[in-house]
Amino acid sequence: MRRAGILPTLLLLAGFALLYLPIVALVVYSFNDGRLVSVWSGWSLRWYRALWDNRQMLDSAAVTLKAGFVSATLALVAGTLAAIVLARAGRFAGRSGFAGLVYLPLVMPEIVLGLSLLLLFVELDLDRGFATLVLGHAGFSAAFVAVVVHSRLVAVDRSIEEAAMDLGAPPLKTFLWITAPMIAPSMVAAWLLAFTLSLDDLVIASFVTGPGATTLPMRVYSQVRLGVTPEINAISTLFVAAVALVILTASLVNKGLIPGRSNGDSA
């Protein structure tokens, strides 16, 4: 194999330093004992303790996790359906309009999505709260699910599904027994993506949620507006750790846990 040259190596180092140094600094300063974020005054867990005593933060964390779980599950179902239609239904009237609707949330700024979803809920006279939060998040993350699942689905040899039908399995059974196991890694990845999208989202949540369902990013945002505080560093560190854990799990699932994909040979 080629050896890395000096210039590419420097580029890589500089590029990834740019991406990661701010986060590393944030993590380190979350263990800082002092109140000033820029002055180091020794290791301490005091900001994590402060976080633990902050009931509001903990409640919001619970709301955020629950909303992420439910909305990711809804988005997985809806997004997978859309991906199946795009990859398997062939031509039908309005197909390009359908594809446009599937991908639209990907190319719309969050503020547009949030505002339009809110106005819809107002128009339907739905009380804003946990339910609207979940619907709003599922609505936009389903688009990401569709992209991830679709890209795997088009790579699956269609004749495998045909073989199942040829051997007597009706369409739904074919999907559950044959297609779903083959695209399972992408469905796991898509669910995780939808989950983290929901966890991260500030803008859409600010529009569609209501009293009693304030999410963690909304709390963090209102604190950040007041200035940089070590407590935010602590909660951000927990966030980053959680995401890293999720990513690690996902890559393990993709690599080791799905039999036949571990050694990278093509079946």
């Binding site: 609707l101 503020i111 609505g139």
Partner: protein, 296 residues
Amino acid sequence: MTGRARTVTILLAFAWLAALVLAPFLVVAKISLAEVVIGRPPFTALLEWGEGAMPPALRVNWGNYALLFGDALYLEAYLGSLRLAAIATAVALAIAVPLAHAMTRAPARWRPALLVLAILPFWTSSLIRVYAWIGILGADGPLNRILQWLGIIDAPLAILNTDIGIVSGLVYSYLPFALLPVYASLVRIDPALGEAAADLGCRPLKSFFRITLPLALPGILAAGLLVFIPAVGEFVVPDLMGGSDTLMIGKTLWTEFFTNRDWPLASAATVLLVLLLVSPVVVLERRLFLRGEGRA
């Protein structure tokens, strides 16, 4: 997929999209033609169901659009968003293309790890990343301290609350969005093409511009859109990093909606923003998104 199963699947998926994607946009379009009133909801109805009047009177108010085009504030906000997003996109691509190229050139055993490193920020909260970036750029943040320690500057640079601050924040937020598609399109290029170019007497730098870059252009364009579109409508970065005089449409919309509670005007501004963003996508749509889809 054939027959009833196919029809049911299409209808289910379409019902979902109609309810959560199409309907919200239609509602926005409708409310953009209403008038603001104090009440719940804070706008007038499009159809007036008067005293048994049939058909109901249609009340269309183009005033919001007139206001958008007439008010310098909005025009500046749109133009400012486009300008800052364009600059941020150019900078992000200028970083992403060489970086992604270096990733494809890295030894094969490093590449999975590099890819994970490139993907990881994509999954991390953008709010937290903006917050971390603010920490770096602050007057007493590490950047200014290092520069001062090196003696390059005497007084801290004021980066936050300026346009430069916003651009840097946008670049930092959306760099992963640019990196992945560029990497994906570069890694698909057969290395034999570069070898063939070298074999025919082309120097590496020239072969990068003559062979690699043209082949990666669709991916680079996609990356550009993935940065540009959310950057135009970005709210968090201008809100937290911009100055009081910075105008970006995302922030203006937010203020109009939450502070002024002028929902019809905010809706009209949204409709314009959507038109502004959808038109380039429609032009590039076939090349970027519909390629490689299951044939009919």
